[in-house]
Amino acid sequence: MTVSTGGSANLGAYRVAERRERWLLQSLVVPGLALIGLIALAPIGWLFWMSVQGSSGFTLDHYQRLLDESYLRTLKTTFELSILVTVLSIALGYPLAYLISQARPRLAALLMLLVLFPVWTSLLVRCYAWLVLLQRRGVVNSWLQDMGIIDAPLKLMHNFTGTTIGMLHIMLPFMILPLYASMRSIDRDYMRAAANLGASPVRAFWQVFVPLSLPGLFAGIIIVFVLCLGFYVTPALLGGGRVYMWSMQIERNVTYYADWGAASALGVVLLALTLGILWAVGRLIGFDRIVGGK
């Protein structure tokens, strides 16, 4: 490489060098982008394409079929269950996350371990564990009957209730983790300031702590709700065959009818709904707040 000695002529060389460096750095992302494009975007594109393919080219038949009563019912069930599980996971997860965030470090670590423990256990194992506990002749019913608290066994499994319990158990960590992260980042001085300004502990909690924990709460809601929308195993195992989820319709279309078109259309609808919800929530509270911006 030649060194230019003429003062300002260097400028061009610097620019070239700078540009080359920038290109080099940016090219580092190419393998990552290619992989994401291949394993994430390509299948989605394929999904869209298949959802509008009929035996004779382009068709919207697959979407039209979704207006069928049984699909609409499934959609309703899917949303009802997802909303219910999300609401319950807030009701249980918020106090738990609060407790952990306020506990002393060692206790907090222990509690966190207990929260995370189920995540490391197989989904199937957890579902069967609930079955053993809550079915008609399960541990809980036998115990309640032996104690004379109930005469006939409670119907806790093989229905909507059982599915809700099972899904709630699986979803709870996904609510607690972002909540906990959000709560931990709330400076103790905020609560002190609120108290100093005259807020009782209860008011300080509702007026200062809760609003400041909202980013974590929204993140939790989105994660739990979106995961619920696509749930399959738990409703299939604990629902007694009654709880129809959108994902089951997809599975049914593929395995029984070999109808990739219909299954793709179902997938596209679920994806669109999910994105729609994300978009709406993002518009409502600002997406950067959820993913950890300001």
Partner: protein
């Protein structure tokens, strides 16, 4: 001056009696007694870990002491929870609520007190005007500069007309220039509102600038309390002399009601302490005068030596001098008029210390 509704309300004195707080084996506050007069600006000054912030937290109610009493006026608040103490507080990091606007932050304590909406609006406006933020009410907190946040925190702390204001190193996050401006402003605000103010800082200059009185705290105890001038000019221990300002120490011996530096009897204005034995003479560099050859230095305590080094520092120079017997002293000379008596390394030098500036402290750090 802007006409404001925030009046100098009757402020309250504070009585701190024998407050002790321990963390395990560590004693953060060791039977602290302190009286703050009504309307007084008292600064708690001390190095980090001295217990000054702990004491402020005890006043705010965030920390419960093991023993002792705190009175606000006649009211014993020792057991009162923080939200029932009615004291304003400015936090080190301001603790402004990010989910509320500027006006929302300032209005919050008023809303908690169920003050009618119209009055809330008026008082928020007045408080913001008082801290010169009249137009920024609708801003979000994260849109403010450090100085602006400081002002909002101040407005929020006084808007509900507390009778006592606590400030925990409120200016430490600001840059030097802004900090000096705010020092004056806080001081003026205090004058106008007449609030009993307890101010915590580790910055001695800030303490000296702002306070009516300064309480120097170390090791969980109040080591000296007094007007800034007294604290600076008349430190009563080696610790205070070292901690505040530049000090150098020369060994002296107290004997027969006089102070002796080697065989020289020091000329003093006030009689030296009655104790006997080894003590230290506190010499601040700016208290020494470099004497011209012609000046006999009559009536001054004289020090003779050789100039070791001269360090130019802008508005003044610091001259390092070797004394006989291996001792060293430094003397500060204002740049203006320094030419009258030139000094150069290696040259002999004679310095005088007025009897009024003689300060003698015990040799131990904390007597």
């Amino acid at each position: 001056m802007v006409a404001v509704g925030l009046q100098a309300t009757a402020s309250l004195p504070i009585s701190i009696r024998s407050i002790t707080k321990r963390y395990g084996a560590f004693t953060a506050l060791d039977a602290v007694d302190l009286e703050v007069d009504s309307g007084e600006f008292l600064t708690l000054l001390g190095p980090s870990g001295s217990g000054k912030t702990t004491l402020l937290m005890v006043l705010a109610g965030f920390i419960r002491p093991e023993s002792g009493t705190v009175l606000f006026g006649e009211r014993d608040v020792s057991l009162a929870p923080p939200h029932k103490r009615d004291v304003g507080m400015v936090f080190q990091n301001y603790a402004l609520f990010p989910h509320m606007s500027v006006a929302g932050n300032v209005a919050y304590p008023l809303k908690l007190r169920s003050i009618p909406k119209a009055e809330v609006g008026r008082r928020v406006r007045e408080a913001l005007e008082l801290v010169q933020l009249g137009t920024l009410g609708e801003r979000r907190i994260d849109q403010l500069s450090g100085g602006q946040r400081q002002r909002v925190a101040l407005a929020r702390a006084i808007v509900f007309e507390p009778r006592i204001l606590l400030m925990d190193e409120p200016l430490s996050a600001l840059d030097k220039k802004l900090r000096e401006e705010m020092q004056i402003e806080v001081r003026n605000l205090h004058r106008r509102l007449g609030l009993t103010t307890v101010y915590v800082t580790h910055d001695q200059r800030e303490a000296l600038t702002m306070s009516d009185r300064v309480a120097v705290i170390d090791g969980g105890r109040v080591r000296q309390i007094g007007r800034p001038r007294d604290i600076y000019e008349r430190p009563d221990s080696r610790f205070i002399a070292e901690f505040i300002g530049e000090s150098q120490f020369l060994p002296v011996v107290l004997r027969d009601g006089a102070a002796w530096l080697d065989s020289h009897r020091l000329a003093v204005e006030r009689p030296p302490p009655t104790a006997q034995g080894a003590h230290l003479l506190v010499v601040r560099p700016e208290k020494l005068t470099v004497l011209p050859a012609a000046d006999s230095g009559h009536g001054l305590n004289l020090f003779e030596g050789t100039v070791k080094e001269v360090v130019y520092q802008g508005e003044s120079s610091l001259v390092y001098v070797s004394l006989a017997g291996g001792l060293e002293l430094s003397v500060r000379r204002p740049s203006r008029g320094a030419d009258a008596v030139p000094v150069a390394p290696g040259a002999p030098i004679r310095m005088g210390l007025a009897p009024a500036d003689v300060v003698i402290v015990p040799a131990e750090l904390h007597p």
